[in-house]
């Protein structure tokens, strides 16, 4: 289906559509279960990112728009349940637990989801730690798929220099990932 292919390809209008159509149900669910609008926004965006990543990497192939919506909602729901179980929401949990529908997530699925969530969180931190200039170049090149000439015109920079800057920015990310990997290995040794 064309829309789903465009979703995997990060088409802005399709992302807008998916966002607009699926946010209200997540908002409704979270407001009903002790959350507020900010919780709903965070949880929904994280669920949408996870869904996109799973589609892009072939772990989930939606058959229709509604199955995509159902998948986003499920991820959002599981994430919200995790949050309610966390320390800060434990007191609230007792009050609302009866309202929360029974979850059908297996231990394996939950473990995989948590691994994926940790990966996404690390990626987001690394991206945030890049300088604004790097973000401007990399997002235009890899996300918006603009050419170096187009980016050069927007950022007042010649394409050859941009080529070097793009490489340098990606190596900064790589360095952050190397450090993170080394930290994780150290932690696993203990």
């Amino acid at each position: 289906m064309d829309v789903l292919r465009k979703f995997a390809d990060k088409d802005h209008r399709v992302l807008e559509l998916v966002y607009k159509e699926n946010y209200p149900s997540v908002l409704h669910y979270i407001l009903k279960n002790s959350g507020d609008e900010n919780d709903a926004k965070d949880i929904f965006q994280e669920a949408l990112l996870a869904t996109w990543l799973n589609v892009a990497e072939g772990r989930f192939t939606p058959q229709s728009g509604s199955s995509l919506g159902g998948y986003i909602f499920q991820i959002a729901r599981f994430k919200w349940l995790d949050k309610l179980k966390s320390t800060s929401h434990r007191s609230v949990m007792r009050i609302v637990s009866n309202d929360i529908p029974h979850t059908a997530e297996s231990d394996t699925d939950m473990e995989l989801r948590h691994i994926q969530e940790a990966r996404i969180a690390e990626m987001e931190v690394m991206y945030q730690n890049l300088g604004e200039k790097c973000k401007a170049i990399l997002s235009r090149f890899y996300y918006e798929k603009k050419s170096l000439t187009e980016i050069g015109a927007e950022l007042d920079c010649d394409p050859d220099t941009l080529r070097t800057l793009k490489y340098r920015c990606m190596m900064q990310l790589r360095k952050m990932a190397d450090v993170k990997k080394a930290d994780n290995l150290k932690q696993n040794e203990f």
Binding site: E16, L49, E124, M126, Y127, Y142, E144, D158, M171, R174
Partner: protein, 245 residues
């Protein structure tokens, strides 16, 4: 691990072409063979793919924020907390207006704001250069990334062995200027201006005027005589006439 030494720019761009689907069939077959036969290379490809995903994901999150503001933010009813925020914002606006009224920029600052420009730096060549040139352009990349402190540190090391190098003097001055260290930048620009063979004289003179505006030094601005043929003559004359008023 030094990531840049670990993956050269040529390797990086080959991997990028593979990951983004910009590799022709024959090259792709060869590339896939390399991945199968060389685990270290395969690891590089995996790492680069992860970096690519990181950018896609980070950029997507930023887009979500915009989509939320446009699609959701506009339609929602203001919550109680939003109403309180609005009231607080109203008070804040009143206070800020008061401060603004008292801190109107004087004519020097207003002129500086109107004429302020940032030198974009020199294009960075892709080919390998001699050691000194490599350090210079490496610092130029830092300059372009707005890491002025690091660029100055690298250029200063080069300047200690070539103290009369006008390119170094000019760009150290420009980096200081871009950091708002106007007084500190002046001596570098002045030295370049003294060098009659320098191609950076026009720009140096222009930045001397701007740095003097920042320092509100009317006498110094008045004393500037635009260099013959300077593309900044018109702007310098305008500034000089405006500070007379």
């Amino acid at each position: 691990m030094n990531s840049e030494r670990d993956t050269s720019i040529n390797d990086f761009e080959r991997i990028e072409a593979f990951l983004t689907g910009h590799m022709n069939e024959a090259d792709r077959v060869q590339f896939e063979l390399e991945i199968r036969n060389d685990p270290a290379f395969a690891e590089k490809v995996t790492m680069q793919q992860e970096m690519l995903r990181t950018v896609e994901l980070g950029a997507m999150r930023e887009k979500f924020e915009k989509i939320h503001q446009v699609q959701i933010g506009k339609s929602g009813k203001p919550s109680q907390s939003k109403i309180w925020y609005a009231i607080a914002a109203g008070f804040a606006l009143l206070i800020v207006s008061g401060i603004w009224w008292q801190s109107q920029p004087n004519e020097f600052q207003a002129l500086l704001a109107n004429h302020l420009t940032t030198d974009p730096g020199l294009p960075v060549p892709m080919s390998a250069q001699a050691e000194g040139e490599y350090v210079f352009f490496d610092a130029m990349v830092d300059y372009k990334m707005e890491d002025y402190e690091l660029a100055i540190e690298k250029w200063n090391k080069l300047l200690s062995s070539s103290p009369k190098n006008d390119t170094l003097q000019y760009y150290i001055g420009a980096a200081l200027f871009n950091q708002g260290k106007y007084a500190g930048s002046l001596s570098y620009f002045e030295e370049v201006l003294e060098n009659e063979r320098s191609t950076f004289r026009y720009k140096s003179q222009w930045y001397i005027v701007l740095a003097s505006l920042a320092g509100e030094n009317k006498a110094k601005i008045d004393a500037v005589k635009p260099l013959p043929g300077s593309p900044f003559t018109g702007q310098i004359n305008t500034i000089q006439s405006q500070i007379q008023d």
